[in-house]
């Protein structure tokens, strides 16, 4: 039944585009309902719902779907962030025809991402990834301005490289295992662990996923794409798309197909630490609101990869928790940047100042988001970072644990700079008539802020359920 999560968005797009009178007006409400339903569906405990007949589409490309607790976290994130992005379209896209198209593409991207989250074989995984990627290109270039087109082009370029590498990897795995199913390849790889071809296949796959995640040094496309994209697209991209296309798939492949080896752990830790620190340092001197958030995203993905790199259940639980927290606070912060950009018409933080009085909701929610991102207790971000640091420490990677903590300090630093320059300090006389952004930007921001606080306070409860259920993903 979980195939519904892929099929319903697809068919909704088809229905919305039927030549019926007035059906286009249902687009926003329908899409919001779908995102809410998706979040609710995650809590369906029925095991039968999540199980799919594996051979529905033939024998080689089996299109297996299945969901464990990791997938459910991801599905929830997709629902949450698409909900926020949909709201953001209301204010950032004035043209109603354009907005309708935008919503359609969001729905297609959601379908693709749901497919990624549920796929159990590498080829269908690849297809869903491509669906997601292509809809992302369109979303980035949606306004057809020069920067948007350039950002999209960079994304296509590097994503194309990643696609090639991934296809080559898939071909190698098929060559060796004769199947694309995770379980089959996993079983074969266990017997041939020092084969050069296998190493090559693993390497190709990992590099492809690093590019998709935007980790350093494969991140060249990311700041430009995030910055140039329309606000709603940035929310979706930063909140979930790259986390799913890159990080989730990486975790899934590592856990279900490749399995951890010392070499893979050291690569993950190295790349993770490099991204966490260098991107945070790069964020320090950015003057563009969204660009700073983009570097912050790279840095936070680095954090997640550090958690994965610990190779332990705890580390992966921490990484999943951080994916969720990142989805919440980064969409929140991108919503805030959209609010500021909408009201001021500028993203240059050097020009801003003292907006806390004029935009109280935006200011307050952005403080909550920033603090959660910097890992300040009792907000949600603190707990996931704590779990990651503990996992690193317990796995014996103590230097990396220290680096992770340092990264948090840097995070706090650039967010304090951001807060001081945008919401506090001297008001710019040019912006003295600025008012708070509209409901459709403040409402999702408030919901996300409440979620961050609530998740922070109830984390011990959530964590228990997480860690208990995360043992099972290794068992499968």
């Amino acid at each position: 039944m979980s195939a519904l999560l892929i099929l319903v968005p697809f068919f909704s797009v088809l229905i919305l585009n039927l030549p019926l009178k007035g059906i286009r007006k249902l687009a926003f409400g329908g899409a919001i309902c779908l995102s809410l339903l998706q979040m609710a569906a995650v809590f369906i405990p029925d095991a039968a719902f999540w199980k799919i007949n594996p051979h529905a589409f033939g024998s080689i490309f089996s299109f297996e779907l299945s969901a464990d607790s990791l997938s459910k976290v991801i599905l929830f994130c997709i629902g949450l962030v698409s909900f926020s992005a949909l709201f953001a379209t209301r204010q950032t896209l004035k043209d109603s025809a354009g907005r309708f198209n935008f919503i359609n593409i969001i729905l297609i991207a959601v379908a693709g991402m749901n497919g990624v989250a549920l796929a159990q074989d590498i080829f269908s995984l690849y297809i869903y990834l491509e669906i997601t990627a292509i809809s992302s290109f369109i979303l980035i270039a949606f306004n057809r301005d020069i920067l948007g087109l350039e950002g999209a082009f960079k994304y296509i370029l590097l994503s194309g490289v990643a696609t090639v590498l991934m296809l080559a990897g898939i071909a190698l795995f098929m060559l060796i295992a004769g199947s694309t199913s995770f379980a089959v390849i996993h079983a074969v790889l266990l017997n041939h662990n020092k084969d050069f071809l296998i190493s090559l296949g693993i390497g190709l796959f990992i590099v492809a996923l690093f590019i998709k995640s935007g980790l350093m040094p494969f991140h060249g496309w990311l700041p430009d794409a995030y910055t140039a994209a329309p606000a709603a697209a940035s929310v979706l991209l930063a909140g979930v798309v790259t986390k799913i296309a890159g990080v989730y798939v990486l975790i899934r492949i590592l856990v279900s197909v490749i399995s951890f080896s010392p070499a893979i752990k050291s690569i993950l830790l190295l790349v993770g630490a490099l991204s966490a620190i260098l991107a945070a340092i790069a964020a320090l001197t950015q003057s563009d609101f969204k660009r700073m958030l983009s570097y912050s995203s790279i840095s936070q993905v680095g954090y997640i990869i550090l958690g994965v790199g610990s190779g332990s259940v705890l580390g992966i639980a921490g990484a999943a928790l951080h994916i969720f927290n990142h989805a919440a606070f980064k969409s929140l912060l991108f919503l805030n940047s959209a609010a500021v950009e909408c009201q001021l018409g500028s993203r240059d933080i050097e020009e801003m100042g003292g907006l806390a009085k004029q935009m109280p909701v935006t200011s307050l929610t952005s403080i909550i988001g920033s603090l959660s991102c910097a890992g300040i207790p009792p907000l949600a971000g603190f707990w996931s970072k704590l779990v990651i640091v503990i996992a690193l420490w317990m796995a014996g990677f103590r230097a990396y644990a220290v680096i992770a903590v340092l990264g948090s300090i840097l995070t706090l630093t650039y967010f304090l700079i951001l807060q001081r320059k945008v919401f506090f300090g001297k008001p710019n006389a040019e912006f003295k008539d600025i008012k708070e952004a509209g409901f459709s930007l403040t409402f999702p921001a408030l919901i996300l802020a409440a979620l961050i606080i609530g998740a922070g306070i109830f984390t011990p409860f959530i964590l228990n359920r997480f860690i208990l259920s995360f043992n099972s993903i290794f068992g499968g």
Partner: protein
Amino acid sequence: MIAKALLLTIIIPLFSGVIMFFLPEKLRRIKESLLVFSSLASLLLAIFLFQQKLTFTLPWISPGLELSFRLYQFSSFMLLATAFFGFFIALYSVVFMRGRNFLSQFYGYFLLAIAFSNGVFLSDNLLVLFFFWEAFLLLLFGMIAVGNKEAFKTATKAFIIVGITDLCMMLGIALTGHLSGTMAISRMNLPLNNGVTNLAFILLMIGAISKGGAMPFHSWIPDAATDAPLPFMSFVPAALEKLLGIYFLTRISLDMFQMTTKSGVSILLMTVGAITIILAVLMALIQKDYKRLLSYHAVSQVGYMILGIGTAVPAGIVGGLFHMINNALYKSGLFLSAGSVEKQVGTTNLEKLGGLAKKMPVTFTCFLITAVAISGVWPFNGFFSKELVYEGAIERGWIFYFIAVLGSFFTAASFLKLGHAAFLGKLSPENAKTKEACFSMLIPMIVIALVCLIFGVFNQLPLNHLIQPILGIRLAGHNFSGFPASIWMVVVTFAVLFLAVANHLFGVKIKGSGLHALDHIRYAPFMAKIYDLAEKRFFDPYNWGLGIVNIISRISLGIDKAVNWLSDGLSVWLANGLSLGIRRLHTGNYSIYLAWSLVGMLVIFGVLVIL
């Protein structure tokens, strides 16, 4: 039921003290009567409890830490003395403090001081004792701080000095409790036969003698004399602190530890006593302020008590304790006379005083009696207690006797100078209209002067009823009342007093005034340099301490600056530099981004193949 009366001795002054803080400044009369009547109540209670033996125990936090009080010979005597000074100085303060600020605070602290001293005297548990002891330290700070503009600094000085010595005492208490396995004072009896017990004794001793005001912990007292309100000086450093310090010193040397003439700490105590006597009195000689001169004597006299108790022979101990009560009497009497002069004339600077004897005859008479008492003139109380201390000292070594007698010489000399400069000589024209102090200031002075006389003439009274019973069995049949046993020592004492008078007359003859009668000592070839340095506070251990702290704080500041530079300077510079560097690498050029990815990919393949 009567055992609970013990608690009243603490509760009455404690509650009235606390109420005092909340009374508004306008209700002056109510505050004054509250002060006088609650101190009177304490006095009556102390008389009622006198010579009774009571215990009161309340199980508290844990078995080792119970709120236990014990009233016996010694503590009932101490309660009485505290209440006596409390009542009369309260009477005096009421008039003296009129027209000053912080009345509520001063009176409140005054009453709390009675409460906490009573707590110390009654406690039979070291921790409970220390609680009251430390509470007293806070009062010390508060009472000094309400003085003049400089008072806050002096209060801080007193607080730091006494605080540090109390820290030693705290360590001593922990060590003593550990050694004896109990915190109950009446169950302790440690022999001083090894290093650790000696250390415990010395730590406790530091607390005791510092409270008494002995050198080198004395240096706040002269500063407080000029900065703090006068009744404070008369009540706390002159009376209460001597009672507290010497009480505790006696308890540790007689009850808690077995100090004998063979103990090393006995020599230590005598040395501290002797040094305190001579150095403080030498400083007293050169003072040109009535109160400051007295304050050095307050330090010097405690040396006699420490010397007496340090001898560890019955005569010395009885002498030390007798000297404690005598000193409390005449020293607070002297301070009260100084206050009377300050109130009536407006200054205590000896340069501006003179010829007050005719204007203030009662004050002068009281001053005269207390001054001859402190100088050790027969038949006043100071004579008898000093003779007993001499008797104890000569038994332990002629050098201690010699220093004690030399101290007496200088004491007499400095009081001749003080009396001459303040009350005799020419009356300056500005002071022509000076009147005698009012009745309620004179009463305490007269009573105290009378007691000085009675304790001298009828010395059997205090010795047989107050002091000798404290030693009980240790006295071994001695009776020290009546005229001193050793006639030649009395002859020496008289000879020294005559020498002091002769010295004074000689000084007056060459300098022509009472104030400068001791200048020949002040400017003697070797002494001049020492005195110059002393006047610059070169010998003040507090200043050395401040110097050391200053060095440490400079080093810390340096470290702090270095850390600041690392965190605020270097790291910011580094982070900004790096950040700008990384920013510059992002040129937006696709080929560069692709090249990075390629390099990353090659590295990853390398790692995968090699590992």
